[in-house]
């Protein structure tokens, strides 16, 4: 069991980050090396300044809000919570003063962020079982949602354990010690191999690793391409 723990918590993490970083960079370079389109692809009437409307479309999902408000609500909640989780994970590596502009505990939201994210993912998943979204969906769509749900639910459980029922065997300092050791290329899993909730961490990391490794080959690349595509539409 220790070997499995070690494989997931150390080499698999390095592999996942390598595949994620290199794969994403190669994919983006491949796109950027393609020839330009010779003419405009914009939609009229145009609104100026187009860059501001592009930001509005990209980050506030303007068209989703107008055409499917329920989905838009869950999309906004999901993306916002996901951003908070990324910030939370960065803070698990080290304190960033800039992120403490508004003073907060590490992992904002007192455990509710994970819960909201899980509910959003269940909504996204269930709507894929109903036509016409069902008819458009491919296995990748279900696979990604299930993977994310599993990563979120096991990750959240660790947070819930800490915040909801006072589980203190593994706390922020333990996670920080483990992540810092990975970051300094001196991996040490002794911080997080205590009995109890460490299997939650292993499962969380395992599913998150799979997600990261799948990222460059999947539609999640929209996180990078949404902005330039919306700019094309705005002209």
């Amino acid at each position: 069991m220790d070997t499995i723990y070690y494989l997931v918590l150390v080499p698999m993490i390095y592999l996942a980050f390598f595949v994620f970083s290199v794969g994403t960079i190669i994919r983006l370079i491949n796109i950027w090396r393609k020839p330009k389109f010779p003419t405009t692809l914009q939609i009229y009437p145009e609104k100026k300044p187009s860059w501001l409307w592009t930001l509005f479309d990209t980050f506030l999902l303007n068209s989703a809000r107008r055409h499917n408000p329920v989905l838009w609500f869950f999309l906004m909640v999901f993306h916002f919570c996901f951003l908070l989780l990324i910030i939370g994970h960065l803070e698990l590596i080290k304190d960033f003063r800039i992120l403490q502009i508004i003073e907060h505990e590490i992992f904002l939201g007192k455990g509710f962020i994970g819960l909201i994210l899980s509910i959003s993912l269940i909504f996204f998943l269930f709507r894929r079982f109903v036509s016409p979204t069902k008819d458009l969906s491919v296995p990748e769509d279900y696979y990604l949602l299930i993977l994310l749900f599993l990563a979120v639910i096991f990750g959240s459980e660790m947070d819930w354990a800490r915040t909801l029922y006072g589980y203190e065997e593994m706390g922020v300092e333990d996670y920080r010690g483990y992540l810092m050791s990975l970051f300094l290329l001196k991996p040490d899993i002794s911080f997080v191999d205590a009995p109890g909730h460490s299997f939650m961490l292993v499962l969380h990391v395992f599913f998150a690793n799979l997600f990261l490794m799948f990222f460059p080959f999947s539609k999640i690349i929209h996180s990078f391409l949404s902005l330039p595509l919306n700019k094309l539409r705005r002209g």
């Binding site: 994919r27 491949n30 796109i31 950027w32 393609k34 020839p35 330009k36 389109f37 010779p38 003419t39 405009t40 692809l41 939609i43 009229y44 009437p45 145009e46 479309d57 999902l61 068209s63 989703a64 055409h67 499917n68 989905l71 999309l75 709507r127 036509s131 016409p132 979204t133 008819d135 458009l136 969906s137 491919v138 296995p139 990748e140 769509d141 696979y143 080959f217 999947s218 539609k219 690349i221 929209h222 391409l225 949404s226 330039p228 595509l229 919306n230 094309l232 539409r233 705005r234």
Partner: protein, 422 residues
């Protein structure tokens, strides 16, 4: 399908992979927000008529041959081998899409389904599986252009026969006629404006009357505006048909090229002619300019029935001509009713993308898929349905007949010509 043909088709596919195209193919999250955007789906709710589904037919081939995921784990993205069955799917996707780009307004990423369908159309051409009629029309158009020198004389004789009808709408001053000016000038070097019409008197007579009324120094193009190359999705023929107009405009040293009421012709000329020493305008823009500048005066009492205006997708949503037709109708004194509160959401007529040109073959689909358009027009209770595109005019006339709509479909330019005050 033979391996050699498949390889050739994959090369054709690759030739379409520009930066935006690659992004369109990589990005779709299949969220389905675009679903209600398509008039075909809104009229006939079947998954195959949703924009994302159509695009997915092409995207699955893309995954198979251009993505690592499609090579390692094709089942994940439902990647598809290019074969006869896939060609059938491509045909259905490409020729049930009118290229109106209404779905692009809905998509959170702004994915252009028309662009993706241009891949489908090119693959069908490569496999000789495209609609024969469209290729024939494109070929005829190309060969007419090549043999223009032999046809000039008969074309000019044909124009002579139209002159009286132009004069009926707008009588030229005696002095003008004596100075050698004709109601339909052609091949005039140094003219300010080159007018590119469609084949047919309806596209020439009203336009000529308005140009003459405005005192425009204009000349008629030898070539017809419609670009059948664009309908069939053949980039080579599209460029051939486009270039001969560009060359003519440059030879005559005109300052402006005015495209008649043809959406595809306008968009191709406006957006694909590159940097040229002339401006490209739609005839509606030109008419609006004449009215604003007081060059023509219109009788506001001619229109005594409620009017609505159908924005041709390639001219309005995709070409930016939105205010001009409304201004012209206002100047015609129309009791004007909007089809859609926001013109970018106007329903497509259902005849674009070559569907009208394909005639009876597509009639049933065109009528069924245009149900929402018919409803939209009827809700305005307008008795006159104006538009500025021949393709839309033909389709709207068919819809009007099919759904027994109590509405007369009219060209906006003809309405202007009919209201000219001498």
């Amino acid at each position: 399908m033979e391996e050699k043909l498949r390889e050739e088709l994959i090369k054709l596919f690759e030739s379409k992979l520009s930066k935006p195209m690659q992004m369109y193919l990589e990005t779709c999250s299949r969220c389905g927000i675009c679903t209600p955007a398509c008039h075909a789906y809104a009229s006939m709710p079947q998954a195959k008529y949703t924009p994302a589904y159509r695009a997915e037919v092409v995207r699955r081939i893309f995954k198979k041959y251009f993505k690592l995921q499609g090579k390692i784990a094709p089942a994940l993205g439902a990647a598809k081998v290019l074969d006869e069955n896939t060609l059938d799917e491509l045909y259905e996707a490409a020729y049930s899409c009118t290229g109106c780009r209404r779905c692009m307004v809905y998509c959170p990423f702004g994915i252009d389904t028309q662009q993706i369908m241009s891949i489908a159309k090119l693959l069908l051409i490569g496999a000789n599986a495209e609609p024969e009629l469209l290729t024939m029309l494109a070929d005829v158009s190309v060969s007419k252009g090549e043999g223009i020198e032999d046809m000039k004389e008969s074309f000019m004789q044909g124009l002579k026969r139209l002159e009286d009808q132009v004069l009926e709408k707008w009588k030229m001053e005696a002095g003008e006629m004596e100075a050698g000016e004709t109601p339909i000038p052609i091949d005039v070097e140094g003219a300010d404006l080159l007018y590119v019409a469609l084949a047919g008197a309806h596209s020439i007579i009203p336009a000529a009357a308005v140009f003459n009324a405005a005192g425009e120094k204009w000349t008629l193009s030898f070539f017809e505006a419609v670009n059948f190359g664009a309908f069939v999705g053949d980039p080579t023929k599209t460029k051939l048909i486009l270039d001969r107009i560009v060359n003519e405009a440059n030879r005559l040293k005109v300052k402006e090229v005015c495209i008649c009421e043809c959406g595809t012709a306008f968009r191709v000329m406006k957006q694909m002619s590159g940097s040229q020493p002339f401006e490209v305008s739609s005839i509606t823009d030109v008419h609006a300019k004449y009215i604003r500048e007081g060059k023509i005066k219109l009788d506001k009492s001619k229109l005594n029935l409620p009017v609505t205006y159908h924005d041709p997708c390639q001219i309005a949503r995709n070409g930016g001509v939105i205010d001009a037709p409304r201004y012209v109708l206002q100047q015609l004194g129309a009791d004007y009713r909007e089809l859609s509160a926001d013109p970018k959401y106007n329903w497509c007529c259902g005849g674009g993308g070559g569907l009208v040109a394909m005639g009876d073959e597509t009639h049933d689909f065109r009528m069924k898929s245009a149900k929402v358009k018919a409803d939209q027009v009827q809700q305005t209770e307008a008795k006159i349905l104006a538009t500025a595109c021949e393709n839309c005019h033909a389709q709207l006339s068919d819809i009007s007949k099919h759904y027994n709509m109590d509405v007369e479909v009219k060209y906006l330019s003809s309405m202007v010509a009919d209201a000219l005050i001498q």
